[in-house]
Symmetry: D2
Subunit: 227 residues, 4 copies
């Protein structure tokens, strides 16, 4: 997964697929303007609808490791791929997983050429997570999630130390999240060396999601053009 990475997690803030599609299309528009891809992670029920009408990479928010078969209610990698997803978040703070299930899921995703962003809540888990070979590790101190107080400002050392730790596996990108709200948060994260940023409430609870994402992308572009 190549920098710069911008992930917007829709969570379950919007339950109307018509509205969610509108948000996705608005994000697609600013993404096109800046020429920077934005990954959107949407509810499983909306993957097919959104991925068929929007050119952004659509991710699932979670995936179970069960095999094909009698597993009522499981959302397995094959299902999200069929629906048009190009990857998935796993082990999000709102959907933590068992260590062995994380390993199972990552293996399945690789076999299916689906991208994976493995979420962890502390820098101490960055190196172990990287060794499990996801495409990216997303570090989010849980106390800052939805707080409007960004990891870049409140805990920059989480970013700088995580960057070193993720290098236990050179193929893994480092994304940071929690409280990412504006230009400065994004700018600072990339300055500190992160490969990407993740956001949710700042975008989804805004009356103008595309404006917030536009601000993020401007920060990415300005950062990229620095000497």
């Amino acid at each position: 997964m190549r920098a710069p990475i911008v992930v917007v997690n829709f969570k379950v803030y919007e339950t109307s697929s018509i509205n969610a599609l509108r948000v996705a299309k608005a994000i697609e528009k600013v993404s096109d303007e800046y020429g920077i891809k934005v990954i959107i992670a949407v509810p499983a029920t909306m993957i097919a609808t959104i991925s068929s009408q929007v050119s952004l990479p659509v991710f699932a928010q979670h995936v179970d490791g069960d095999p094909v078969g009698p597993h009522t209610g499981s959302i397995i990698p094959e299902l999200i791929k069929d629906a048009g997803a190009s990857g998935t978040l796993i082990n999000h703070s709102e959907r933590r997983m068992r260590l062995d299930h994380i390993a199972d899921v990552l293996e399945r995703l690789r076999l299916l050429n689906l991208e994976s962003i493995l979420c962890v809540d502390r820098k101490e888990l960055v190196a172990p997570a990287a060794l499990m070979s996801p495409d990216a590790v997303l570090v989010e101190p849980p106390e800052l999630i939805g707080s409007g107080n960004s990891v870049s400002r409140a805990r920059p050392e989480v970013i700088t130390e995580s960057i070193k730790l993720v290098k236990s596996n050179p193929n893994v990108s480092l994304i940071v999240g929690a409280g990412i709200t504006n230009y400065d948060d994004v700018s600072k994260a990339f300055q500190l060396g992160a490969d990407g940023v993740g956001a949710a409430s700042a975008v989804m609870k805004s009356p103008s999601p595309e404006k917030v994402v536009g601000e993020f992308l401007r920060a990415v572009r300005d950062q990229g053009s620095r000497p």
Copy 2:
């Protein structure tokens, strides 16, 4: 939920939505021939696709009780309704739930006018389940699931006793499942007084799902026309 009820749980036997849609359309065809509705419970990722192209009632296989908001990965009642589902299975043997979560989900489903089929594994849970006011209780002795040895033949007393027990709430229907494979299994279940039958592997692993469902519906019709 009015008798006769026939539920086909797709589980995760088919991960291609094109194939699953083909199965759904074939079931729709026999359903129309017999004039008997068949409920199909499909993976969350396929609800929108199938419900928009097939006239059968489409159910989710599971639903979480979280409210709208920051609940990454949750499939909540509003999401399945938006996708076109008319109801959902809950507490399936492959997706058991906490007692309080079952109560939460049932309340949410009622508010949204979504139908609910609450699954239990033993007759001792039929009366408690009925008191929680789902639209139907589905009893499935787990040792018979996928066995080809039907509850109607192997454990008819589960059906007859469950029928009495479900009456703790007169608005709740009783569905039986596990090992339901052919005409006789369905016929016997209705003779014993069940309001409906549920099946999964017998349909989904058959080269001709519509033929199996057709056999079920013939049994329902023959039973209904008895004096």
Copy 3:
């Protein structure tokens, strides 16, 4: 389980078994003074130590339904019985269980002549819970737990309605809890018809647990002696 029932849940407020034993002995003393039994629910690691030195009924706080065998880490009914427990709480708000596991555990407890107190969080679950045949149902509105605002004062209708609902099974006692702190809370609960009361933080976080329990027992005695 016969009224009046008084349950003190030690939770994990005290991790020293010496201190916990001191609290248990102090409660035993007031229990003897009033001639009213007090059930104490203690951590699994302390059951043997406390039950061998205190004459009060000692309960576990939770129990798993696994059979004897390869179930590393499970606390099963046989283990708590061996340690000297006379019963257990199950499905506490801090340790909710799957519906089928509750049924499994209740059956196991009955076979072993261990008493069971099945916890639920709302009056709507009282009748279903009672039909599962525990010895008692304990209703605790979770928003009042540890609040110091008692169910007796804040939500008396939870008590009066639960009393009617528990009668779906005449052998089951009704205990109420959440915010039970003083004489009045206990008095009111019994006046409203409850068979018992449960408390935790009010006792365990007090510098003088026996004084708090003494106040509860005085309320029970005064209530019992009313015309």
Copy 4:
């Protein structure tokens, strides 16, 4: 944790603390004969009883990461320490944990000077597990657990590769388990470079547990005395 390590997991094969104590004392006797410490992992309810009467290091089989406070039913590190345990297994195949909970628990155990053996099911998890800094990683291919077909014979490459992988953290020992039954299994494991072995059913289901453990210790001694 220093080699040679021998761990016997009692699981819940024996629910009588009198019998379990007898087994523990018999193991203590052979342990003394060979001058090799054997760690015994016993049910939480038995830790106090056994640790007070046997000089072997007594471990818990599982521990929850909750803090002291209102956590009904939780077995937290402080509780097992109070009961006399010197450490605990965590994330056993029969008690898998969330990645973040494993990290929480390991941190708590370190603060309390309790030893930790972190269990994983595949060599791919050995390096990530080692980076989380338990005292030892125990690798057990789950398909061999209780099989009588030992990891030493059936999958020696799991041992040799795990040894290399565990070196991502030089302070962590490598223990192997699954199907360890006799002299040869233990001998082979140490020859391949493991720091320790773990067993459960082979010991606990034997009419003479001390004889089985004695055989293990003889293999350890013979191995140690090789040039």
